[in-house]
């Protein structure tokens, strides 16, 4: 058996600093507002004098960057680590936050032996934003101790567990504080000292827990991994220390969250075609000073959804779409927290050909359409999109169409046919029409023009939706030939039989 352990030193700090420089001294504080204390720090911060348990004020004097501990950061970081580990083996255990163990048995031919697989694991974790220690051993607990105790990549061959772990301090085992005190009083400082103690005597004094610690120090515990369940939801959330009012700084945070999401999707060979953005807004209701009501701020939500025609793994495309969408629909108040959820989808792989006809890149086209929507608007008064691919609906109603973001490929192709095209007026132009004794148009006037009807064809009656009180239509259509400025104009006019009004629908052009 072969197990690999991924251990993230100073996990809370690394979770807070994902995709940021790890060299900066950072400490995290938490607790009630009256007593904020340092709960985690990184090495540069410890070097600057920060220690766990310090008050926030004391830590501020050390000149380090202080941040509030956010549980969501640690949760999402642990999920990202799980995704990383999953690429090496599906059999994995999420031991504690910041520590994962994977069963690498049988992957030697695929991933390589010993240090090779360790280097791959470290590189993948680094690309996800974590500096990690890797331990590889024949049992899970030895791998955990090796990763926690030694920096970098440590490989322990079977049978050498006790010897290799011997130099590690007892605190690596993280024993209960009273046990630690007892061992300290006995002068037991390292794994080696604990491993050589007589087992029976140790059990008599420290119980089964003491024996368990000794077996851990010997590297002799064989156990099965507790399988971790991979999260099916791809969600990233962050709460901001200061509210954000402008879209530009908001874009920086969105970019970070999207990159994290895309990294996780890439690790699972997935993509997304559906992004849900929820912005928690800080809304301050009007405060009545005279009534002396306490100042209260309520949080409202601003929700936006982005749908793409094809799944993508490109965070930049999604960021641009979100930016355009937020520019068109800006939040009404400063943003306090951001949640982005990606609905996973299978990546669509298509082989492009040398002789394939010209077509726009689907992801770029989506951005292009969003940019054009920002110029021409989103929808007309009938609720139809202003930008997209038109589809003629299966209806006899005139000018009945739908505009979709994605074109629906026809099942069959047909030869182009050259026939007379109709040019529409939207909405139809009101007209005045004089009728002959045979009820045929003889004169018509519209748009400050009056012309005699040279030829007319009609009436062609059409109607529908008579069962629907609001959507019913009934009309008589005519094709008329008039002379406009001495040149022929062929128009389609109609009379709405419900109101008796005449309209010019379009021109044969």
């Amino acid at each position: 058996m072969l197990f690999g352990c991924i251990y993230v030193p100073d996990f809370p700090v690394q979770a807070a600093l994902r995709l940021e420089s790890k060299a900066q001294p950072v400490a995290l504080f938490d607790g009630p507002d009256s007593l904020l204390k340092i709960v985690a720090s990184n090495k540069p911060a410890r070097r600057a004098g920060v220690s766990i348990g310090m008050t926030k004020l004391q830590a501020e004097a050390c000149g380090v960057s202080l941040r509030k501990r956010v549980q969501e950061h640690e949760d999402s970081a642990q999920i990202a680590l799980l995704d990383c580990a999953y690429t090496f083996s599906p059999r994995l255990e999420s031991t504690v936050p910041g520590t994962l163990v994977t069963n690498l048995t049988g992957t030697e031919r695929l991933l390589g032996m010993g240090e090779t697989v360790g280097l791959k694991m470290a590189a993948l974790c680094r690309s996800t934003g974590f500096e990690v220690n890797i331990g590889i051993a024949a049992n899970p607990d030895t791998a955990i101790c090796a990763a926690r105790g030694f920096a970098g990549i440590t490989i322990i061959a079977p049978g050498e567990e006790g010897k290799r772990l011997g130099s590690l301090p007892i605190r690596v085992l993280e024993p209960a504080s009273e046990i630690m005190d007892v061992l300290d009083a006995w002068g037991i400082r390292t794994f080696k000292h604990l491993a050589v103690l007589p087992s029976v005597a140790l059990t008599e004094r420290l119980g089964q827990y003491g024996l368990h610690l000794q077996r851990l120090a010997q590297g002799a515990i064989e156990r099965e991994l507790v399988p971790a369940e991979l999260p099916t939801a791809f969600q990233e959330r962050t709460e901001l220390e200061e509210t954000v009012e402008l879209l530009e700084p908001l874009a920086f945070i969105l970019n970070r969250l999207l990159e994290q999401l895309m990294d996780r999707l890439v690790d699972r060979s997935l993509a997304t075609d559906h992004i849900e953005l929820v912005l928690s807004l800080e809304v301050h209701p009007d405060h009545d000073v005279k009534a002396a009501t306490p100042a209260a701020s309520t949080t409202a939500l601003h929700e936006r959804t982005i749908k793409l025609p094809v799944p993508t793994q490109d965070a930049k495309v999604l960021l641009r779409l979100l930016q355009l969408d937020l520019a068109a629909h800006p939040p009404a108040a400063p943003v306090k927290a951001i949640t982005i959820t990606a609905i996973p989808a299978r990546l669509r792989l298509t082989q492009t050909g040398l002789f394939q006809p010209l077509s726009p890149e689907p992801a770029l086209l989506e951005i292009t359409m969003a940019r054009i929507r920002a110029v021409v608007g989103e929808q007309d008064t009938a609720g139809r999109s202003r930008v997209g691919f038109p589809t003629v609906l299966d209806s006899h109603r005139p000018d009945c169409f739908h505009v979709a973001a994605q074109g629906i490929q026809p099942k069959t192709t047909s030869q182009p046919s050259s026939c007379l095209a109709l040019r529409l007026f939207r909405p139809a132009l009101p007209a005045r029409v004089e009728l002959s004794a045979e009820q045929a148009p003889v004169w018509m006037a519209f748009q400050r023009r009056k012309a005699r009807v040279v030829d007319a064809s009609g009436p062609w009656r059409g109607g529908g939706s008579w069962w629907d009180a609001t959507g019913d239509w009934l009309r008589d259509e005519w094709d008329v030939h008039i002379n406009v400025d001495g040149a022929p104009g062929l128009y389609r006019i109609f009379r709405d039989l419900r109101t008796g009004q005449w309209f010019v629908e379009g021109m044969y052009d």
Binding site: L358, I372, V375, G377, Y508
Partner: protein, 241 residues
């Protein structure tokens, strides 16, 4: 005394092509699908600007010509875009002419926006040209008054012509007046129509429009040798004829 051949070789060694005539590569074209028109103009040139000019209120055949062109290109599995400044494009009419609507991006400019429809059309066309990947980008300014067309600065046309020059896209503009001037590789004037009716005029119900003949004139072309005052016509039949 060196001979001319020696001087020529010495010059060409230092400045290649200095003494040879530049051969412009033959321009690729899209067929309009109207044989009478293709015979005269060869087709709509790719990587260039084409302007189709006609008066707004008369039946001139400009929409028939554009829709026929879109049908040809979309049926060849290429994507096209129509920037419709006056929202006058009819999907049903285009579908009847076998335009593949799933490959036709339609931009419907709005009259209620803070920008004028012409400004919206040019902004949208700019974005589309930058995106690339379209066989035809058509800007339909057919219903826009000539006074507004004349206000479009020549630099705008020049910029569009230069941008599409490096792409395989044909930029086609329908408008009332040939505003692009020398920036256009092809200028086509479509004008008078001659409608034919069948049946008796006495009873309007028995009379139907059978076909319409449209006259066109080539104003300017770079693809072929200019044909002065070449009048020609093409015929279009309505769906029911």
């Amino acid at each position: 005394m060196p001979s001319i051949a020696i001087i020529r070789s010495q010059v060409e060694a230092r400045i290649p092509g200095a003494l040879s005539v530049y051969q412009r590569p033959e321009q690729e074209v899209f067929s309009t699908g109207i044989p009478a028109l293709d015979t005269q103009i060869g087709g709509i040139p790719k990587s260039a600007l084409t302007q189709i000019c006609a008066a707004p209120a008369i039946s001139s055949g400009k929409t028939t010509l554009l829709t026929s062109l879109l049908a040809q290109v979309t049926q060849a599995e290429q994507h096209c875009a129509v920037v419709d400044a006056s929202d006058s494009f009819s999907p049903a009419s285009a579908a009847a002419m076998n335009v593949c609507l799933s490959r036709l991006l339609w931009v419907r400019c709005s009259s209620s926006s803070r920008l004028k429809p012409v400004e919206q059309a040019f902004k949208a066309a700019d974005v589309l040209v930058q995106n690339g990947g379209f066989g035809i980008i058509a800007i339909d300014l057919g219903n826009i008054e000539e006074t507004q067309i004349r206000k479009i600065p020549l630099t705008t046309w020049f910029r569009f012509a230069r941008v599409v020059e490096k792409t395989p896209t044909a930029l086609v503009v329908l408008m009332a007046y040939p505003a692009a001037q020398s920036c256009a590789a092809l200028t086509l004037h479509v004008g008078q129509s001659n409608p034919h009716w069948t049946g008796t005029a006495k009873s309007s119900h028995t009379q139907i429009l059978s076909d319409v003949q449209f006259d066109f004139e080539i104003g300017r072309t770079r693809t072929r040798k200019p044909v002065q005052n070449a009048n020609a016509r093409f015929t279009a039949r309505p769906r029911w004829a």
